[in-house]
Amino acid sequence: MKHVATALALLALALAGCGRYAVRPNEKEHLANPVMQFDEDGQEAAADDHVLSNREGSAGGRGTQGGGCGCN
């Protein structure tokens, strides 16, 4: 788990470094599309977790709702 945390921290730093120029604001049309949002339907995601956590022994850790369009 320590190696995983270290790898994730390095990945976050790398992504943060390249994120500034990765996509310009006028290039975010497709990123703003609802199908590009993770768990865009929050109730569907919750219901999925609900079903699967009662059938599998490793619940949790799906991720966070939303996307990276930066359109707020």
Binding site: R20, V23, L31, V35, F38, V51, T64, G66, G67, G68
Partner: protein, 428 residues
């Protein structure tokens, strides 16, 4: 007994916290029907799960969310984990309610949210509080999110705490589980404290933290990496479940502490020429009970005109067993190897597959003419999933003289379960 359901609701909380970014009034109503085939001649398992969420803006930077969900469960269940569990199946029903509240603060580049939820059923109470935030880094191509939840749960149980694991008896549906509003209360034999405790409530504390990095990789690709951790401390057995050990049938016995962690990676790629998107995700999980798992999921979303969206997906999952899990024959004939023994099929070696489709009908207001006279946007969702659920051998099959076919009530058919879901999401 819906402990896992309560945990699932808790797991959904971080997703709720992220929602203030989409600051708009909305109503979301979804009903899910889960149907599972079961052996034993007593029918299958049916779960009806309605969900209602309402979100409103309270000014430019504040959102309020209120939600309700329920589980109506009915069907066949095993009374004891044994080689011949199927022949001793019985039926049960259960009803669970959950309410939740949330408040979100939306900034130019950041969000902050707090939430609370209360789960209520005959034998399980759950009070959860949490908070989280997210921030877009300069350029708005990188989003960092962090959330934390704590859940104070109580589980109704026979007054077993002073007994050894092999002496403990299981709770039954006839045992009382008294409550003082939202807190559990002890019950006494024949309501007489002099005669001793009949049932009591056992604590379970759950701490959950989740961190994600979401990164725009290109104008058509976005990646999310997530790290998740959870610590459960307290009573984690199913109080109703018995395990046959020699000629004894004590209540199952689980360790009090469980720590779990997961790493997930998800990628969405938009295909402009096809008006479609590809979704890929993978997840690795491990916990201190010895369960390790891997999940991969592929999805494809396709717009058909302006108002239809079709999504197809496939998911594969496999896990190892908990270190103390055994196939029923070995509990029956070898006694227990330690203080812990369980008949929970979630702790067996499991391999599952899922395929499904979802159709969304999208209607958007035009020229000041609102949808149904009320809404700016309305999505109607219809979803169907088929599941193949398979428990594998935990111990040497050649040495298992009792076999595994009758130890779980799970389906012996090709398709084990299906889910149908109907939902309405309205922005107003």
């Amino acid at each position: 007994m819906r402990r896992a359901a309560s945990i699932a609701a808790l797991l959904a909380a971080p997703a709720l916290l992220a929602s203030p970014a989409a600051a708009e009034d909305k109503v979301d109503l979804t009903t899910t029907w889960y149907q599972e085939n079961r052996q034993g001649g007593l029918g299958g398992l049916t779960v009806i799960h309605p969900q209602l969420d309402i979100g409103v803006d309270a000014g430019e930077h504040v959102t309020l969310d209120i939600g309700y969900s329920a589980d109506a469960v009915t069907g066949a269940t095993a009374t004891v984990y044994a080689v011949d569990a199927v022949s001793q199946a019985t039926t049960f029903d259960d009803l669970r309610h959950e309410g939740k509240l949330g408040i979100g603060f939306v900034g130019k580049r950041s969000t902050l949210g707090f939430n609370a939820s209360l789960g209520y059923e005959r034998d399980y109470l759950s009070l959860s509080v949490g908070g989280g935030g997210s921030i877009d880094l300069p350029g708005k191509n990188t989003n960092l999110a962090l959330s934390y939840n704590h859940s104070f749960d109580e589980v109704c149980d026979r007054a077993n705490a002073e007994l050894t694991p092999l002496e403990r008896r299981a709770l039954t549906g006839a045992d009382p589980c008294k409550k003082n509003v939202i807190f559990g209360a002890d019950s006494y034999v024949m309501d007489n404290p002099v005669l001793g405790l009949a049932t009591t409530w056992r604590d379970l504390s759950i701490d959950t933290v989740q961190a994600t990095v979401t990164q725009n990789l290109s104008p058509t690709s976005v990646l999310q990496v997530g790290l998740y951790g959870q610590i459960l401390e307290g009573f984690q057995s199913n109080p109703y479940r018995r395990v046959r050990i020699d000629n004894n049938e004590p209540q199952e016995s689980m360790p009090d502490t469980r720590a779990r962690g997961a790493l997930s990676v998800r990628l969405n790629r938009f295909l402009p020429r096809l008006s479609s998107a590809v979704h890929v995700s993978a997840r690795a999980y491990s916990d201190t009970w010895g369960v390790s798992s891997g999940t991969v999921e592929l999805g494809y979303s396709q717009y058909v005109g302006d108002s239809l969206l079709l999504r197809l997906r496939a998911r594969a999952y496999q896990q190892t067993a908990a270190t103390f899990f055994k196939d029923a024959f070995f509990y029956e004939t070898e006694f227990t190897s330690g203080a812990y023994f369980t008949g929970d099929r979630e702790l067996a070696p499991v391999r599952n597959a899922l395929v499904g489709a979802k159709l969304t009908v999208i209607t958007v207001a035009e020229d000041d003419k609102k949808v149904w006279g009320l809404f700016e946007k309305l999505n109607l969702n219809l979803k169907a999933d088929v599941l193949l659920l398979d428990e594998l051998a935990a111990d040497d099959p050649d040495a298992n003289l009792g076999g595994r076919d009758g130890q779980f009530l799970t389906s012996d058919q090709l398709l084990d379960a299906f889910t149908l879901q109907l939902g309405i999401l309205a922005d107003y």
